[in-house]
Symmetry: C2
Subunit: 243 residues, 2 copies
DNA sequence: GCTAGTGATCTGTGATCACAGCTGACGGGA
DNA sequence: TCCCGTCAGCTGTGATCACAGATCACTAGC
């Protein structure tokens, strides 16, 4: 802490980008998160520590730590029989998750509308345009569309100015990811209906106009419509106890 | 899965309480969480895997997993020098955390006001009375008051009907816990000023009247006043770079 | 006297081993 | 033909060992 006073010769090194150590556990966590977010690990699917470790080319140790973090987040679950799987979500649970997202992401969008900077706005505009051009393509790439949709939403949330809030939303997306992607895989036609496009445009317009309630409504509608679409499809298990 | 059809004799066992296994990692996590929530681990304090393991009477393995979960939650941090410590929170970070709590917990309180059941309400009433009697005692027990305050807040949040939201709030409290408790330890006189008491009474009244905006305001005020009190005390490090 | 080098010690991380318990297929009995 | 006990092969969990790197007290050298 006496860097400034005593070590003037290396003062140029004082504020370096603080390159952080990359731990194997962290890498495994990122890899698993990606698998989940992209829907390549579907609800109900099992996961083996040793197999995953072999696939990643590491020992079970890092995978184990990554899995335990995912379990803590509720993105994976380990049954009493010691079986790791991505949880089946009941209709009720999915509905609760969607409502939570509506509330939390709505707040973030409203805040962004009020306090966004010029850079924030242009980032959001770019993200919206990127998603639009992909969704309106004659042959939309599903995986790419998912990624661009995510980019747009988080461009908005990044600008809300509350790091903890953004982090919460990231966790919620991790939880909802498998269900949403599984559905989109089964019913890719939703992309063409353009619901999301309209809501995104509304959100962008509201943010540009610094109209917080409108931004909140647009994001809420975006989430709600997607959730209702999935619930209508009935891919989720009924809470009344179907096996 | 053919329990019903083929094994009629044991059908009485079909819907047993699904007793869950207690893992050492889970126990360690609970123990560390408690240490953090009760403020016995102050911001900046270090933590050693081996020492903690020895203290708990287990190997480093379970502690390690517990710590990695806490780190994922941002409640602990591990520096590039591989030092585990509870993070120092800057004033800005604390302010952002408080604003996030105001938003999220406000939502939960508003929902509870609208949809609480009779049981919910009586649980909230009891919790409010318990905190009040402790806070108004001639010799308030600080640790007990903290616990009762927590009980009251979560009695309200439990009734909001959104499990994911409740979980988010629990994480936020874990994060804010060390700072709040450290401050309360240094300045116990805040308990006597009765700010919290007034806000709690307002929240209870609003919930009883099913007045969602008022409930949201009361909880927001409760959080905001506590945060401002702590910020005014100046125990947090300034973001401009004090060491 | 103060700085800079040095080595013992302790840190988290990762690999490997040991173990209890669940799973699921096989085979004997009704 | 169907049920049920049995056993091999997994599972996750926990302990232990190995290792690179950071810390900190100490000492040699200016």
């Amino acid at each position: 802490m006496r860097l400034v006073s005593g070590m003037r010769s290396v003062t140029a090194l004082a504020d370096l980008p603080q390159l952080e150590r990359q731990t194997l556990s962290g890498t495994a966590y990122a890899a698993l998160s990606d698998l989940l977010a992209s829907g390549r690990l579907a609800p109900g699917e099992r996961l083996s520590l040793r197999q995953s470790a072999a696939a990643f080319g590491v020992s079970v140790m890092p995978v184990r730590e990554a899995v335990s973090r995912l379990v803590a987040d509720g993105v994976l679950e380990v049954s009493p029989a010691r079986v790791i799987r991505v949880p089946m979500m009941s209709q009720d649970a999915f509905r609760a998750l969607a409502e939570t997202r509506i509330a939390v992401e709505g707040i973030a969008a409203a805040r962004t509308a009020l306090r966004h900077s010029a850079e924030d706005l242009s980032a959001i505009r770019n993200a919206e345009a990127a998603f639009r051009s992909e969704a309106e393509a004659t042959q939309p790439d599903r995986a790419r569309a998912i990624q661009l949709n995510r980019d747009l939403h988080f461009a908005i949330y990044d600008a809300c100015g509350l790091a903890p809030l953004r982090e919460i939303i990231a966790r919620l997306w991790l939880k909802a990811g498998p269900v949403i992607n599984l559905d989109l895989r089964a019913h890719p036609e939703r992309l063409r209906q353009g619901f999301a496009l309209r809501r995104h445009a509304e959100a962008l317009a509201a943010i540009e106009a610094r109209d917080a309630p409108a931004a909140e409504r647009a994001i809420a509608a975006d989430i709600r419509e997607a959730a209702e679409f999935i619930l209508a499809r009935g891919g989720l298990q009924d809470h009344s106890g179907g096996d």
